[in-house]
Structure formats: C-alpha cells, structure tokens
C-alpha cells in the first residue's frame, strides 16, 4: 500500500476522531481568540486611559498599581511558553477549583491571547488621532466613555488584521495544549499515529488540516475586513431615504 493508500485508510478508519479533533481545536481557538480580544480590550483600554488632573489621588495611585500588575501579566504571558503556562496553571488550580483539562485549556489560551491582544489594542489606540479624544472630552464624555465608545472601536478596526492573525496563530498554537490530554487535533493525530505506526501519513494529514483551517480563517478575516472598509467609505444608495423615514415617522406618530 502506498502513501495515499495509507492516507485513505487513516481517513476512513479514524475520520470520526479526526473530526472530533478539528472540532475541539476550532472551539478552543475561537473561544480563546474572542475572550482574549475582550481581555485585550479591557486591559489595553485601561492601560491607555490617562486620568484627569481632577481625579482624586487614591484613584491615581490605584490606577498606577493596577497598571503595574497588568504590565507584569502581559510580560509573563508573552515571555513564557503556553505549554508551560498550561501545565502550571492546570495543576496550580486543580485542587482549588477542580477544573477539567478542557476548561483549563480554554482559560489558558484566553489569558495568553489576552496578553497579546492587550498590546495589539494598545498600539491601535496610540495610532488614533488625539483630536478624537479631545472632541469627546469637549462634549463632556468621561475618560471611560471616550475610550469605550470612540477610541476602542476605532482601535479594533485599525488593528483588525493583527486581531485576525491571533485567530490563525491560535488555531496552530492550540496544538501545544495537547499536553493537557484534551482531544484537540494534535492530540488525536498523535494517538492515531501511535496506533497505526504510519507517522508520515498521519502527520501529513494533520498538517493539511491545519493549513486548510488557517486558510479558511484568513479568508473569513479578509472578507470581514473588506466589509468594514466598504462600510466606511461607501455612500449609501440613497442619502435621504432612511432619514426621511426616521423624521417622518417620528412626527406622524
């Protein structure tokens, strides 16, 4: 039996467990990216807020302390391997909260992604013209309101390529979470290879699947990006239609 013969055999025999692996991999990386983005928005946004001169000094001190803690969080999670983070945190909290390996995997990838996202969001925020903040503040909006409603949406939009890239990275790097014995794609691949002894064919198949998954993710991200840009620069078919509806219906009511 040749290469493709074995490949075929693996797919027929282990198709279900491969699909299961794909499902878990996608689940972990999608949730990890989304939760990571949320963490990144909160952490990056918080760090980028500059308190007013009128803020009471306990608040200023408090902010400084939290900023420091967040910096340490970002440094540590970007500066150590996710595989180590996974093992350490899983066991560190096992007795305390008795979590499953899958939960631990999702939490670890989320926190890890959050550290990267925080930096992505922060540089996205820094790239935004100071005039946006000044305009919001001149209207009486608070620091937090300005950040949440004006600055963050723009930062996320500008950083969208980098944010999308995190999803792709996560699809690939979630493979290290096999160390937690969860049935994600890499773990499944390893066990299939172990029972068939067809290492080359099995890992070739895994590589193909990872490649296809990341390609699809990249295509989806590109599509979303194009749509956002289109929305920003296109002129509605009719400028007046919708507003006539809003004005008229309001008055007729």
């Amino acid at each position: 039996m040749g290469f493709f013969g074995y490949l075929n055999k693996i797919i027929t025999k282990y198709g279900v467990s491969i699909l299961l692996g794909i499902r878990t991999t996608l689940y972990i990386s999608l949730v990890g990216t989304l939760v990571g983005l949320l963490i990144g928005m909160i952490v990056g946004g918080f760090r980028a807020v500059k308190l007013d001169y009128t803020a009471p000094s306990p608040l200023k001190t408090g902010k400084k302390i939290i900023d420091k803690i967040l910096t340490v969080y970002i440094d540590i999670f970007r500066g150590t391997p996710m595989m180590v983070q996974a093992m350490f945190l899983y066991y560190a909290f096992l007795d305390l909260i008795g979590w499953s390996q899958l939960t631990a995997a999702v939490v670890v990838i989320s926190i890890n992604t959050g550290a990267y996202m925080a930096e992505i969001i922060r540089s996205g925020i820094q790239a935004i013209d100071a005039g946006q903040t000044e305009a919001a503040r001149s209207l009486g909006m608070s620091n937090a309101q300005t950040m949440w409603y004006v600055i963050l949406p723009q930062a996320i939009r500008n950083a969208f390529p980098a944010i999308g890239n995190e999803l792709i990275v996560n699809i690939k790097d979630s493979s290290v979470l096999m160390i937690l014995s969860i049935n994600e794609l890499m773990f499944q691949t390893k066990s299939i290879a172990g029972s068939t002894y067809r290492f080359i064919e099995t890992y070739f198949l895994a590589a193909m699947i990872y490649f296809i998954l990341t390609k699809i993710a990249a295509m989806i991200m590109n599509h979303i990006e194009l749509r956002i840009n289109h929305q920003l620069t296109s002129i509605p078919q009719s400028d007046t239609s919708v507003n006539i509806y809003t004005t008229k219906t309001k008055e007729e009511d």
């Binding site: 009128t54 946006q132 000044e134 001149s138």
Partner: protein, 247 residues
C-alpha cells in the same frame, strides 16, 4: 448688568520653558461674538482651550457662567455646557453623521435614543446636513464635516461655543458654507469665541475683536476700532500683513 459669561483674570500658561500666555485678561458677555486674531504661535488656541479645560492654566482665574471653573469638581458636566469646534473637525470616525450628534447626548446628558435623535435631526437640519444623516463621516467634504461638527456641539445646547480656526483646513470653496452657518448662530444670539484668520468674517460678524501677540492681549475693541484705528503698532503691523489695514 449680568456677570459676563466668560471672565478671565490674569491667566498664565507655560509649556516647559515656553511661556505661552503671559497674563491674559479677557471677558465675553452673553450673546457676544468675539473673534480672536493674531499670529501663529501667539497663544490663541491655548487661551481657547483653557476655557474648556483642555489645557489647565498655571495661574489666574477663569470664571464661566459665574463659577470658577478651575475649582469645579465635575469637569465633564462643565464641558458639556461649552461647545467646541476644531480646525480638523475631529468627527468620530467610527460613527455616522447622525450617531456623531447623538452619542454625547445619550452618554452625557442621558437622553433617550428617541430624544437624542430628535435633537440631532433638528440641529443637522439647521446646519444643512439633513440629507446626509446616514453618511459615514469619511465620505463627507471638509465643509460638510465642519457643519456636522457644529451640529454635534449644538446638540448639547451649549451656553458658549468655542471655535478654533474652523475654516483653516477647508478648501477655499467650502469656507463660505461654514461661515454662513456660524453667522446664523451668531444671529440667533449664541455666545461665541472664534479664533480665525478670516478677517472678513471677523469684521462682519463679531461684536469685538481681540488681537493677541506673544501671549498677551494687545487690542480688544469693536471691529471698527481695531481695523480702522488700531492703538498698537503690533496690531497695525499684523493687519498690514493680512492686507486688512483698511476695511
């Protein structure tokens, strides 16, 4: 007589070694339109920005609406009563025209969506932007952007409006539409302080012209007096360079 809307006493402001405001006294009465003119770097923007606390003066007193604003606790509430328009418009890039005008109403004044929309449409109509409410702000011309920015500020129903060179970033053919809008506001009795290089507008619309030079107010008088018989040599020299020595 009522207390002036804005009363500034001896304010000083420095950026590092650079003393930008060197003891400025200045006041504006209700319903007055005051134009601030002067060379680049003379401190006009800094003075204007001190009035809504985008800059904090190092010394001196600023009273607006009868309270010392350097003491106010709730800066956001204070700022919501003072409208500001910028040279670069600074429309919120992530929102469309209508949303630009609604955001602060909802978040600062806590108005309902419906109320905010009604007010927004009212002022967008006033500045002639009613046909563009759903436009992404990036697709607007400069003049349309500035008129939207004016509407956005008016939506807060400010008791005082500040303009920092609102037409300086515009192509010449769009200056007119913005100045017309501002003139309308002035005619409605809106209290306004306008930093501008548009001497024609200053002469026509303002009640008073204030000429600043090197961080000080050199001239503060009616347009007629400032343009026809300026007291100071510095004013004369400035007006001569702007070809506005003789109206």
């Amino acid at each position: 007589m009522n207390e002036p809307v804005v009363q500034i006493k001896n304010i000083h402001k420095r950026f590092h070694q650079n003393e930008v405001l060197k003891g400025v006294d200045f006041s504006v009465n209700e319903g007055e339109v005051v134009c601030l003119i002067g060379k680049s770097g003379s401190g006009k923007s800094t003075l204007l920005r001190c009035i809504n606390l985008l800059e904090i003066p190092d010394a001196g007193e600023i009273r607006v609406f009868g309270e010392n604003i350097l003491d106010v606790k709730d800066v956001n509430r204070y700022r919501s009563q003072v409208g500001m328009c910028f040279q670069q418009f600074n429309l919120f890039d992530n929102l469309n025209v209508l949303e630009n005008c609604m955001l602060a109403q909802q978040k600062v004044l806590k108005k309902s969506r419906e109320e905010a929309e009604k007010t927004a449409l009212h002022y967008l109509n006033k500045v002639g932007m009613q046909d563009f409410v759903n436009r992404s702000v990036r697709t607007l011309s400069g003049g349309q952007k500035q008129r939207t920015a004016i509407a956005r500020a008016l939506c807060m129903e400010p008791k005082l409006m500040l303009f920092d060179e609102p037409t300086s970033a515009l192509d010449p053919e769009m200056v007119g539409e913005v100045l017309t809008t501002m003139k309308q506001l002035a005619d409605d009795g809106q209290t306004m302080i306008v930093v501008t290089h548009e001497m024609g507008f200053a002469a026509e619309v303002s009640d008073r012209i204030v000429f600043m030079d090197e961080g000080q107010i050199v001239e503060d008088d009616t347009p007629e007096n400032v343009f026809r018989n300026p007291r100071s040599e510095r004013t004369k020299a400035f007006l001569k360079r702007t070809n506005f020595g003789t109206v």
